[in-house]
């Protein structure tokens, strides 16, 4: 994010994805991949009776160095590795385990806690979309069916670029994008009249959903 915040490494996965297909950036892409393969979030053996229900021992990726692994940075890193032919790498397989462990009992994902002190937490469309995108084709569809169903409802409801963008990418990766996706994208883009111009990354995400009807790993621009 900034030279004085080298611990905020989360944009690495996005950069690696962006450098795919750009031969001029092969060196940077390679260094980014190595970095992603070498780093994990903090994880520890799950304690009996712990207030958090998820398996804290599964290695994934964090937003910031030396913190716990969470859903979205793990999903982004998995996408970056998959886009570079590393679909069978142990880190991707660990990521699959982590994401499946963090799937909420009623379907969907949030930032990465499932139940705390016995209460199931709320889900969020952007987290769910990113997780489904990363898992596409790697788990049986029956195991993520409730999440797909939840996200199909959300995709028709939300009109903000991050939530809609990830919802469509996640559904598209499983061949479940709603037919009206172009209209939903257009309506979301038009809401800049109300809120002012979206920041570049949010606008790019929702436009990417338009360019990638089958998900981020099969982009056609």
């Amino acid at each position: 994010m900034a030279t004085d915040h080298t611990d905020a490494y989360w944009p690495t996965a996005i950069s690696v994805l962006a450098w795919c297909g750009s031969p001029g950036h092969d060196g940077s892409r390679g260094r980014g991949l190595k970095f992603l393969l070498d780093i994990t979030g903090r994880h520890w053996k799950k304690e009996v009776g712990a207030p958090v229900a998820h398996d804290t021992s599964i290695p994934g990726w964090s937003w910031i160095a030396d913190t716990h692994s969470w859903v979205e940075p793990t999903a982004l890193a998995m996408c970056a590795l998959r886009a570079n032919g590393l679909v069978q790498h142990s880190r991707v397989l660990d990521g699959v385990r982590l994401l499946m462990d963090r799937q909420l009992p009623h379907g969907g994902w949030n930032y990465g806690n499932t139940r705390v002190f016995g209460s199931e937490l709320h889900r969020a469309p952007e987290s769910t979309g990113a997780a489904l995108q990363a898992l596409a084709g790697l788990v049986p569809s029956a195991e993520i069916r409730k999440s797909i169903d939840y996200l199909k409802t959300e995709a028709r409801r939300v009109r903000t670029p991050i939530a809609l963008g990830w919802s469509l990418l996640g559904l598209g990766a499983w061949g479940e994008a709603p037919k009206e996706a172009p209209d939903l994208i257009l309506q979301t883009v038009e809401r800049q009249q109300r809120y002012g111009a979206y920041d570049t990354s949010s606008l790019a995400l929702v436009l990417l959903a338009s360019a990638a009807p089958n998900g981020i790993l099969e982009v056609r621009i």
Partner: protein, 342 residues
Amino acid sequence: MSTSQDVITPERRAWTRREFLYALAGGIVLASGVSAGRWFFGSHLRSETFVAKMNGYGGDLSGVMINGFQELGLSSSEIHGKRILLKPNLVETSQGAPHINTHPLVLRGAIEAFLRLGAATVMVAEGPGHRRDTLAVYEESGLADVLTEDHIQFHDLNYITGHTITNLGRQSTLRTLTFPALFLEVDWIVSVAKMKTHHWAGATLSMKNLFGVMPGIYYGWPKNVLHHAGIENSILDINATLKPHFAIVDGIIGMEGDGPIMGTPKKAGVLVMGRNLTAVDATCCRIMGIDPSKVSYLARADDWLGPIDERSIQQRGETIASVRTNFSLLEHIPAHQGVRLA
């Protein structure tokens, strides 16, 4: 509004028999290693909080706040020309759970109140802890409708340029803290929090609310850097370094039980305000039936960031006793154990 009379003034001329006995007991406490002065007089720091009864969100919130400002000695000459940043508690949204977040009409009331006192600008800013789509939280919480109608700017603090400064609290191992650079452009930061129990911290009020100012791009979603540094340490560090100017706590409908997200609505029917966040939070705790001295971060803030001792907080407006309503605490949550106010 009534004004509480049960305030101990610091200046005393002669000792009563009761005070003599207190002093004697104080000597015994001193002998056991506890500060007698602090035990006897309460915190060295003094502050005032204002409590207003509010039956719902439909009343004249700005009028009540202006009354509170007056009670607290906050004048238009102090606010005139200032740029005010209001920091609500917007964590995430869920259908049927508006009690997670500061009610939008409380923010509208605060905006109107500060503008009526002559503020140059009032803006609202937040970096939700659980959702990356801040715009979705802004919209689904109902805040977007209010601020759009009122032509008030909202800033997403999660995706914002940072300004790194030395951590003045020094409770955690974090040597620096990165706040939004936007804060360099405002004069006052006001924590407009929600009155809620919290399953890690005991209670989340105006001090804990400031977790939300730390940008997600530097601290993550959730703001896990702060969790690993210790939630209580981080609350103290942020408050000691940022030095916020004012607090307004929305306790009209708060949250009890498994807060800050999964708890149930609790109508406390109050707005609590003050210049000192520690004092405001201590008063809120008492209203919630929680002993602030048993809430670890408040106990540690006592006599440093502000007072928590009831004798050190002048109570304006309603008395605590007249509005106290015990918030449910859960036995299986360690942060809730043993904190009930006698």
